[in-house]
């Protein structure tokens, strides 16, 4: 691909903004509530209109202010779970995931919404992160570059989980494109005004970008530092009770995305001993001391950083789109 080449991508007519996927991650809950209030007003758009669907993903968990009722909703979107047989005794979140798949998907089909933005908070000191399954989804990467430019005073990172489409499990995988917008630190069950404002601005700029993209703006390419998840590390635990026997070391606490070297402190036991990182490769820690991950056996996650070259992009013209559609249907016939 030449340096000046501009990639043409299909329009994004339908965008979903989802909050309350975890019912106690309150920035998204309140933002979705506020957006639903405003939605009733009719707005004249100069640029290409976008259909924005605003969704409260897990109403029952939100009402209880818990992460989930029966099981973590944000692990219920694998193809296997979505297409599994339904029964009366299914956990609440399994039923809900299938409802959301009908509303925003079906996952993998042409009817799926073009972009899902799923709103989350974390107790970890991660600033703002966009989390996706791909390191070459140019739409998501350009949205990230746009947010970086428009909100320069918030630390922002792009996180990639190298999971195949078959195995992808989160709500954002239902759309043709999707990402989680994760902002921390914020305790669960709390709304911090600075975090709420950051999320509100993030969503607004994301929607602005989509409108600009749809109306033909060319977005120049460039580099993005992508953090690809490599592994998780669990707390040391008592072999009998399975209770944790150490806490994140004070030197590591709140230092998400500060490079962790072999022999750096990881944990401090309750008797004061320091446990060190025994890996051979320096890696970037994130999700350090996330409340919800204690039960998943994750004290912190580790990522490799690499620079990804993002091409310039613009929206397909109608002719280009028709040509591609024709090609697509020919492929289908064959």
């Amino acid at each position: 691909m030449e340096v000046d080449e501009v990639m043409c991508l299909p329009r994004l007519p339908r965008v979903a903004v989802c909050g309350g996927t975890h019912g106690n991650e309150l920035s998204g809950v309140y933002l979705v509530r506020e957006m639903l209030k405003v939605e009733k007003k009719v707005v004249e758009e100069e640029e290409e209109p976008v259909l924005v669907m605003i969704v409260l993903s897990n109403p029952r968990a939100t009402q209880q202010c818990h992460r989930y009722v029966d099981t973590d909703l944000n692990r219920c979107f694998t193809h296997a779970t979505l297409n599994g047989p339904m029964s009366d005794t299914d956990p609440y979140e399994i039923v809900r995931s299938q409802e959301l798949n009908t509303l925003l998907g079906p996952k993998g089909s042409r009817q799926a919404v073009d972009l899902v933005c799923d709103l989350h908070n974390t107790t970890a000191n991660m600033g703002m992160c966009l989390i996706t399954y791909s390191d070459c989804d140019w739409i998501c990467l350009h949205i990230f570059r746009h947010l970086q430019k428009e909100i320069p005073d918030i630390p922002m990172r792009f996180i990639h989980f190298d999971v195949s489409n078959k195995e992808s499990y989160s709500l954002d995988s239902v759309g043709k494109h999707g990402f989680a917008m994760e902002i921390g630190p914020q305790p669960h069950g709390v709304v911090r005004s600075n975090i709420y404002t950051a999320m509100k601005d993030g969503v607004q700029h994301m929607l602005d970008w989509v409108r600009l993209f749809n109306s033909g703006t060319m977005f120049k390419g460039g580099f993005v530092d992508v953090f690809t998840m490599v592994k998780h590390i669990d707390y040391p635990r008592d072999s009998v009770t399975h209770n944790i026997t150490a806490a994140i070391h004070p030197h590591l606490q709140d230092r998400d995305f500060c490079l962790l070297h072999p022999e750096d402190p990881l944990f401090q036991t309750f008797s004061g001993e320091t446990l060190r990182y025994k890996g051979k490769e320096p890696l970037y820690p994130f999700f350090i001391n996330e409340c919800a991950y204690y039960e998943k056996g994750i004290a912190l996650s580790l990522a490799r950083k690499r620079r990804v070259m993002v091409p310039s992009i613009r929206v397909e013209t109608e002719q280009e789109q028709q040509a591609n559609d024709h090609e697509y249907s020919s492929e289908e016939e064959n």
């Binding site: 309140y30 305790p187 069950g189 709304v191 005004s193 606490q253 001391n289 409340c291």
Partner: protein
């Protein structure tokens, strides 16, 4: 020179309990008590029987604040004498059991001291909670702790307000002491917060040991913050919150809040100002558990209490 007649003579504080898990997701206390139940060396003191105890084991297991009702509001006279056994809410049953073991509340058989360990999502630092301005033993203990950890700070919150005070687990004892350390998210264990709580308890137990051995503590002044008013979030007609703690107030526990200062920020960015008549010191700012209790923060007023000289009877 303190004369014998000015020194309050108090009985030894021999029976001391340390409560963790009164709220099952406040992790410092849960972790410390579990540690000490396994190995109590650290809390041993001459002349003191220190008993670590998990007050709400079901809530601890589920890592939730409570199962049916808030245990730390459950020690009312009505609850403690309620019939019904198994059919009572779990925490009311627990309150009755705890009252049997560590009380009965108000009787001479009750435990001398109970330390109740809590965390808060508010930026309160280390806070000791006092339930009576006339508890000279507790005032002296708190003075001792403050001096011992200086220059690090440990403030005293006095909740004697006739309407806002509540029936805590620790209120079963003759000398109830609340320990509140934050900020820490629910369900999370931060090592700095854990160590801070551990150090406070160390000094508290040292004080009791010294007192029981016969040391006399001269009269002293103790600065306290007396609970004045509970301020709720602005809400709409359906009871939904329509504004957040203002960024200027967020994390500013114990700092003066003056009339006219920003207090809340609506979701579309408008500022709501504090309309009180004088300067107050807010605390428990943006505590997660208090959204359902209609409390965004409490206001306090600064006061100096004088503790009598005390010595063993």
């Amino acid at each position: 020179m303190s004369s014998y007649s000015n020194t309050a003579r108090l009985t030894e504080a021999r029976r001391v309990a340390i409560f963790g898990g009164t709220h099952g997701n406040e992790m410092s206390g849960v972790t410390l008590v579990n540690l000490w139940m396994k190995n109590s060396d650290e809390i041993q003191r001459k002349g003191v029987e220190a008993k670590p105890f998990i007050t709400n084991p079901k809530a601890v297991e589920k890592c939730t604040r409570y199962v049916d009702t808030d245990l730390n509001r459950a020690f009312t006279p009505e609850n403690l004498s309620a019939p019904g056994g198994d059919e009572l809410p779990y925490e009311v049953q627990r309150a009755q059991e705890i009252n049997k073991v560590f009380g009965p509340k108000g009787s001479p058989e009750a435990y001398d001291v109970i330390f109740d360990l809590h965390n808060t999502t508010s930026n309160m630092g280390c806070t000791l909670i006092l339930e009576s301005s006339k508890d000279h033993f507790n005032l002296q203990m708190m003075n001792y702790i403050k001096k011992a950890i200086a220059p690090a700070s440990c403030l005293v919150l006095l909740n004697e307000h006739p309407l806002l005070k509540y029936s805590t687990s620790r209120s079963v004892a003759k000398h109830p002491v609340g320990l509140e350390v934050g900020p820490q998210p629910q369900g999370v264990l931060r090592s700095n917060i854990f160590e801070a709580m551990r150090v406070i308890l160390k000094h508290a137990l040292d004080f009791i040991e010294l007192f029981n051995e016969g040391m006399e503590f001269p009269s002293c002044s103790v600065e306290v913050f007396r609970v004045s008013e509970r301020i709720d979030y602005p809400r709409d007609a359906n009871g939904n919150i329509i504004a957040m703690v203002h960024p200027n107030l967020q994390d500013c526990d114990w700092e003066p809040l003056n009339p006219g200062d920003p207090m809340f920020q609506t979701f579309d960015g408008k500022t709501i100002h504090y309309q009180g008549s004088g300067t107050v010191y807010p605390t428990f700012i943006n505590e997660a558990a208090y959204y359902e209790k209609q409390q965004a923060f409490v206001t306090t007023r600064r006061e100096t209490l004088v503790a009598s000289a005390i010595g063993k009877a």
